[in-house]
């Protein structure tokens, strides 16, 4: 894992002091809420439905156990004993006091964490593959590159008042576990003639106008990357729309201007920027990479696992994924208990996961965009012990990637932008499909729920998506079908008229039963949908 040096620490410490003073000035009335808002947002502090909400950055979703413990400590000391893991691999606290935030930031800084640029019209926390460094299919670990970008984007003076927020993801596997092409910039690390470089996609996103990012450059060399991104952002900062917040994301610029024109503008700007000596030497990427060297795996670790406990065996098959090292596995902790709140974990659960990471996973955890937690490096011989401890804490639901492994935004229970509640729909669906045998028979099914058109619950990318809307003051839910955030990326299509809360649960069940009826072989729901189309399901639901 990356460790701060004195420069990194000084920057984060300075931020704490800066924000302490900004809070003081706001409390004293020296600045208005209108002036304070962008300042607090750049520190991840929102004013939500019930209170302030603090979003803490988890760069590329990677945490040490000490950092995880701090998240539990903050939940216990400053919040109401729980945290919420988000679809951007971050964590949110729902009941924060403005007066406490400088102290919270100081606590975070003590474990090399921060809330910098987790909101605001700036470059947000860089997301990545939750299996980075452990996946068998990666060409390299994407996290050193993501860390390079984290540093470059932190307090970038030119790009802190962009037309709109800006999200970047970095992956390094053909399998896309980070919804890379649904980001403002998606980067896939690839090898060309034995040399690593970045394949750049620009202009993806969800929200009210979902778009899949087109490729803008097939290969940017490591020592050109920051200059190239600088050019990408400068073109956006200068020409992105500022007349309408709903049309201000870079995807709209590229859609209206054309990917070819945008690419040409970036090339021109890059030719200029490259003369300015903005790129760190390759030695900097090497320095960062050294922190991400593979842990000392036991070369004698055995691949044998005792499957005699049937509940354990189910969990093993569903939540445990292959690791690149012999005798090791990737453990997924689905933070999706039946009837629970997706992504919510109590302080005690957070502590437990931290302890497990320390004892069994080389001190590392990951947060996934599906609001789950990963122990990336677990010895196969330890899997049973890990499972028993998770099970005792209510964290061993064997539903990874199944219909009850639901992504849901906080929705109208917490969010001031929401039009409808998301969490109760997720709870009802997970109860309806509580039977694990039935879920496993249905197979991989990504169900994603957003409580408004901003799509924080990724409904556009759900095999089945649910969008909550406000229909004359009443919550109403539309279903979309056929979306995917993976390497077979697609945007779901609206099936038909919406439903109330119970109606949408029934409708989802009818869609799924139709799939079981018409599927061929081992087709996933998504494959069947793509083969048979919308009408079959529409007919099943609306008759």
């Amino acid at each position: 894992m990356y460790q701060y040096d004195k420069y990194d620490q000084a920057i984060v410490d300075a931020r704490v002091e800066e924000f302490r003073d900004q809070v003081r000035r706001r409390m004293a009335g020296e600045i208005t809420e209108d002036q304070f808002k962008p300042l607090r947002l750049m520190n991840g502090l929102y004013l939500q439905l019930h209170a302030y909400m603090l979003r803490v950055a988890i760069p590329y979703g990677t945490l040490s156990s000490k950092q995880m413990k701090m998240l539990g400590h903050i939940a216990r000391k400053y919040d109401r004993d729980y945290g919420h893991f988000t679809t951007r691999q971050n964590v949110q606290y729902n009941w924060i006091k403005l007066e406490d935030t400088p102290d919270i930031l100081a606590d975070l800084a003590s474990v090399e964490m921060h809330a910098i640029q987790t909101s605001g019209n700036c470059i947000r926390n860089i997301s990545s593959d939750q299996y980075a460094g452990a996946a068998a299919d990666e060409v390299t670990d994407p996290r050193p590159w993501a860390e390079l970008l984290r540093q470059w984007s932190t307090f970038h003076p030119e790009f802190s008042y962009l037309p709109r927020k800006f999200k970047i993801a970095v992956i390094a596997s053909p399998e896309d576990r980070a919804a890379m092409r649904l980001h403002d910039i998606g980067i896939e690390l690839v090898k060309k003639d034995g040399v690593l470089g970045a394949r750049i996609f620009v202009g993806g996103g969800m929200g009210r106008t979902p778009m899949i990012a087109p490729e803008i450059n097939p290969f940017v060399k490591a020592d050109d990357l920051l200059s190239y991104l600088e050019a990408c952002l400068r073109v956006y900062n200068r020409y992105g729309r500022r007349d309408n917040a709903y049309k201000a994301r870079i995807k709209i610029l590229i859609h209206e201007h054309g990917a070819d024109n945008y690419r040409a503008d970036v090339e021109t700007e890059f030719a200029h920027v490259k003369t300015l000596d903005l790129d760190p030497p390759l030695a900097e990427l090497e320095r960062i990479s050294a922190f991400f060297a593979a842990p000392a795996f036991d070369p004698n670790a055995s691949d044998d696992v005792d499957r005699s406990d049937p509940d354990f065996a189910v969990w093993l098959d569903q939540n445990v994924k292959p690791h690149k090292a012999k005798g090791y596995a990737i453990v997924n902790i689905a933070v999706k208990p039946t009837g629970g709140i997706p992504g919510d974990a109590t302080s005690d659960q957070i502590d437990l996961m931290a302890d497990l990471a320390l004892d069994y996973s080389f001190d590392e955890l990951r947060v996934t965009h599906a609001q789950n937690i990963v122990l990336p490096h677990v010895k196969k011989s330890d899997l049973y012990a890990v499972w028993q401890k998770l099970d005792a804490a209510g964290l061993a639901n064997a539903n990874l990637d199944l219909v009850s492994d639901i992504i849901a935004c906080p929705g109208l229970d917490y969010c001031s932008l929401a039009n409808a509640r998301s969490i109760p729909v997720a709870q009802k669906l997970s109860e309806r499909f509580a039977d694990l045998d039935r879920q496993r028979d249905i197979g991989e099914l990504k169900l994603k729920i957003s409580g408004c058109i901003n799509a924080c619950g990724h409904h556009h990318a759900g095999h089945i998506g649910i969008l909550g809307v406000d229909k004359k003051g009443v919550e109403n839910y539309q279903i979309t079908l056929g979306g995917s955030g993976a390497e077979d990326v697609s945007i779901g299509k609206i099936m038909g008229p919406g439903f109330d809360q119970d109606g949408v649960v029934d409708a989802v069940e009818r869609v799924i039963e139709k799939y079981r009826e018409v599927r061929e072989g081992d087709e996933r729901f998504l494959d069947t949908y793509r083969r048979v189309g919308n009408d079959v399901f529409k007919e099943a639901v609306y008759g």
Partner: protein
Amino acid sequence: MKLLTGNDLGSGDVVWWTGSGWSRDVKEAVDAGDGADAILKQEEAARRVNASYAVDAGSDGLPVHIKDRIRAAGPSVRKDLGVNPDIQLEKA
């Protein structure tokens, strides 16, 4: 009937205008009548409330819109954390 609501600047708590101050309990809220704008302006300036606004209330004395009913009640999925968790959210 108009209720005034907003958040406490320091704590962020949802608060309601009681006629003489701000309460976390919507049941202490009073009709602000025609004075809404003037009260909000004065209270914002004194930083006794933040991000304030007026909402329509129904015959039950509670906000009409579900968003503000949830603000008054607390999250419907965490009734243990609400101020008035038993407020009916949907229109009768």
